[in-house]
Every structure is written in structure tokens, then in C-alpha cells.
Amino acid sequence: MSAPAMTKTRTLVLARRGIPWGDIVFKWLLRVCLAIAVAFLVTLLVYVVYKGWSRLDPRLWENFPSIRRPERAGAKSALFGTLWVISLTAVFCLPVGILGAIYLEEYADPDRWYNRMIELNIANLAAIPSIVYGILGLGVIARGFGFGTTILTASITLSLLVLPIVIIASREAIRAVPSSIRQASYGLGATKWQTISRQVLPAAVPGMATGSILALSRAAGEAAPLLLLGGLTYVAYVPDGVLSGYTVLPIQIYGWISQSREAFHDLSSAAIVLLLIVIIAMNSIAIFVRNRAQKRW
């Protein structure tokens, strides 16, 4: 038995053995990684605000686009187009996404091949390039269903595009509801749907809201599929219905970037700021909802 020496005389056995350079450098490297990402974001924001500063005034949202007079042009039609498309996208994708998530989380037997297939399928859809959804929208919705290049087509296409995000986020939210809540409800003689509709869903609302808002803000920023769906168009009116023609902010921005006159580039920066405000506002709501919800259990 060789116990470690334990004499009173040894001192400072716990002292640091030299400066841990490796640890210090490593920690700073990690910090730098984070800092680069954040610095990039800041640069981007500063740049677009700086570029767009001269056009950040009511002309931006009160005027229609103009090819002749960039100094008078605005993004009114695109702003309203975005609001229309996003609202309609919400109407389509939120109920379907949330109900689908309930099915997968609460009803589906994960051992069944068809449920596994649905799950795998959703994971796949989440990573399919958005331009492929554009092809889908063009071939099936615009031409196949004959909806043309309208707000309706754009919204359906974007709904399908963000549906996986809504489903995945809603599933997370539903899963995060402690099973003790479900048990308590069943223990009181509640049926499955009663348990889900009265306990699980209300408790999952914050999480689902977060996911939904993030999904919609993705839809709000999406341009690629709409390029194939007639988005690149001079539109000088506010849409008045789901079958109306439209343009949206990202497309309008793309259109202006594609102009060669510098004035349009300033204008597109201003429109970018407008779009970012819309999106950051949506993100902040999501974050706010999430942070409040975290205090629950």
C-alpha cells in the first residue's frame, strides 16, 4: 500500500504548472471565429445602410418603381407584394405544417415504414435547393394548375418551400412539452385529442410560433424560386387579390441590382435595409417569444 505522500511540508502542490499557452491561444482562436462572423454581419449592415442612406425616406415605401427616374422610384409595390405573399404563405403553410407535425409527433408509429418515409422525406425537402421548388412551381402550379404567375402561385410555392421548416420546428416544440403534462391529462381520463388540443398545443405555441416566424422570414427573403415564377417584372400597383400579378422585395432588389445606373444601386441598398427591417423584426419577435417561453417549466 503506497499512499501518496502527505506531509505537511509540501506546499503549493496545487499551483499552476506554467502558463497554459495552448489553452489561451485556443480560446482566442474560437473567439476570433465568432468575431469574424459577427464582424461580417456588422460590415454588411453598415455597408447597406451607408449605401442606401440617401434613399431611406418615405419615397422608398410611398412610390412605385420607375425606370426613368430612379430618384423618384420606390418599392411600394414590392413591399405590399411581400406582405401579400407572406400572409398567404402563412395561411397555407402554418396549418398544414402544424397539423403534420402533430401527426408525426403524437400519432405516427415511428416503427412503421411509411411514417419513417414521411420523416425522411421531410428532412430531404428541407435541404432541397429553393430553385428546384421554383421548377416545381413553374411546372405544376403555374402551368399544371393554371394559376399563372400570380400571388397564389408564389405563395403556394413558398409554402411548400418552408413547410419542412415549420414541421421540424413544430415537432421540436411539441416534443419539448414534458411528457408529464400528457400523462397528467391522460390520467384524468382525457382523450388523445383532448390532451393534444388542450394541453400539448397551448404549451407548444411559443416554440411553434418561433419556428413559424423563422420560416416566414425565410420565405420573405427568398428570391430564387420566384425568378422562375414571373417575379422579375415592372409592377406599379398594389396587388388587390390572390390572382393579381406581383413583385416582392427580394426580386425588386435583384431587379435594381441588375440595373447599371448607380442610383438604382443606392435604391436597392435602401430596399435591402427595408427588407432587413422586415426580417429582423420577424426574427426578433421569434427570439422574444422563445426567450419568454423558456421560463415555463
Binding site: D23, F26, L29, L30, V32, C33, L34, A37, V38, L41, T43, L44, Y47, V96, L99, G100, I102, Y103, Y107, I118, L120, N121, L125, A127, I128, P129, S130, I131, V132, Y133, I135, L136, G139, V140, L160, L163, I167, T191, W193, S217, A220, G221, E222, A223, A224, L227, L228, L232, P250, I253, Y254, I257, S268, I272, L276, I280, M282, N283, I287, N291
Partner: protein, 315 residues
Amino acid sequence: MTAPATPSAPASPQGPLGRARSRYGERTVQVVLVAAALVSVATTVGIVVSLVPPTVEFFASVSFAEFFTTTQWAPLFEPPAYGVLPLVTATLLITVIAVVVAIPLGLGAALYLSEYAHPRTRMTFKPILEVLAGVPTVVYGFFALRFVTPTLQGWLPAGMSPDVFNALSAGLVMGIMIVPTVASLSEDAMSAVPRGLRDGAYALGSSTRLVAVRVVVPAALSGIVASFVLAISRAIGETMIVAIASGNKPELSFNPLDAMQTMTGFIAQAGSGDLPTASLDYKTIFAVGALLFLITFVMNLISARLVRRFREVYE
């Protein structure tokens, strides 16, 4: 405890446990829910249905060999050439640049947030990274073209000065775009590593760096790799950045300073031009779309595998 007055006679059961009321509502609900879940399947079917027939027709006119082995892509020219390789290599090159940027940055940020940062710091920076993920890609494209490229032209020595449209800035900016994908998913995977493992390692006298590198990263590895795969998928599928910033020049080149066209870039360009539906040109879009779909599909399968394995690690 006082015994009940009549200990022997139990309350007789209040009627049978069966219930006449059949629960039609519950069944209806289930049907509705299944229908909602099937929308996603319908979407995939829709994608396949819209891709496959034109692609099949395309390959009736253009041989597989020409499509996959020749190196000139000029489907809309006279005479046309259908070698998809330039689009594929451009996609790969830009993706590689993006990944080279995103993986170290994303992983570093994730490690910092999950292992070093105070919870308050994490609460501040995670949303900031998420904003980065939420920035529309048009904006990134604009930034790449108008800021990053001029900056690079200013910095790099004359011989290495990139073209106005080039793969490098598109790739760099795309890398930043996918940093949040890597960071946030890796961070999730790292936080999912049970506290106990970290405690175990700390209790053996590891520094935070060793805990991070030797315990957390290996334990979260499949989740981390899955985040890479997803980020790569996003990079492959990204359209607006390349449409705006990389030029639309389908040329077989591995020089990131050159302009090039990716698969998505081609679809966006040709698709927004809205070609005659009956033409071979039009089917080209679908053939490239199908190839893109196939590539991301395979990537996703790999990632699903990894995620499943990841889930099994601890139990």
C-alpha cells in the same frame, strides 16, 4: 388512522367500464392530420413529376456520355454543347470555398458558445448568428458583388486580382451565409452531449480545451458532421449569390478568380429567360435541376444516416 365504518362492503363499480359513445371526432382528427403530413409527400412527388419527364426527354436527345463527360456547356448556342461538367465543377469549387470558410468559423463559434461562453453571452450571440442565417441571399449577392469583390481587388496583388464576377467572392460570402447552419446545429449537438461526460473529463484534470477537443467534439461528431452535410447542401443549392456575383460563364476552370456558372446559376438564368416549353433548351433546365436534386438528395440521405447514428451514441 380510523377504519371506515363498514370495512367489508366496497363501493360497487359505477357501471361498466365500457363506453357506448364511440369517438368519431378522434378518427376525423386523425384523418385530417394524416392528410397534412401527406402534403410533404405530395411535394416530393410533385418535384419528381415535374423533373422526370422533361429530363427523360432530354436524355432522349442528348446522350448520358455527352452530358457527363464532355466539358463544354453551351446548350443555348448554335451548335449546342451539353457537357454539364463546367457547371458541376463551378458548383463544387464555390461550395468548397464556402465550406472552407464556414466549417472552421462555424465550428469555432459553436465550440466557443457551447464550452466557453457565459450563458448570457450565448443568449446574445446565438440570435445574432441566426440573423446572419435570416439575411436574404439577394443581400449577400449584392454585398459580394459590390463590396467583397472590390475589396478583394484592392487587397490582392495585381496578378491575383479577381474578375468583376468571380467564384471567390461568391464562395466567401456563401461561406459566411452557411456559418450559422454549421454553428447552430453543431452547437445543438455539443449541448446534447451529456453534462456527465464533461464533468467526468473535468474531474480528471482536463482543461476546457481538452474537454472540448477530446470529449465534446468526438461525442458530438456525427451531429457536427451532419451539420456540415446540411451546410454543404445549402451551398450547393444556393442560387442568388452566384447568380449575382459569380458571373454566368460556364467554363471549365478551377481558378476561383474567374467568372463561372453553377448549376443553380444556370437554372436561374435560363429559367427566368423562360424558354419555349417544347424546346430542348427548356428541358435542359430540368435535366440540370434533376441532377441538382439528385446530388442534394444523396447528401441528405448521408446526413440522415449520420443524425440517426448520432442519436444512438449514448443509450
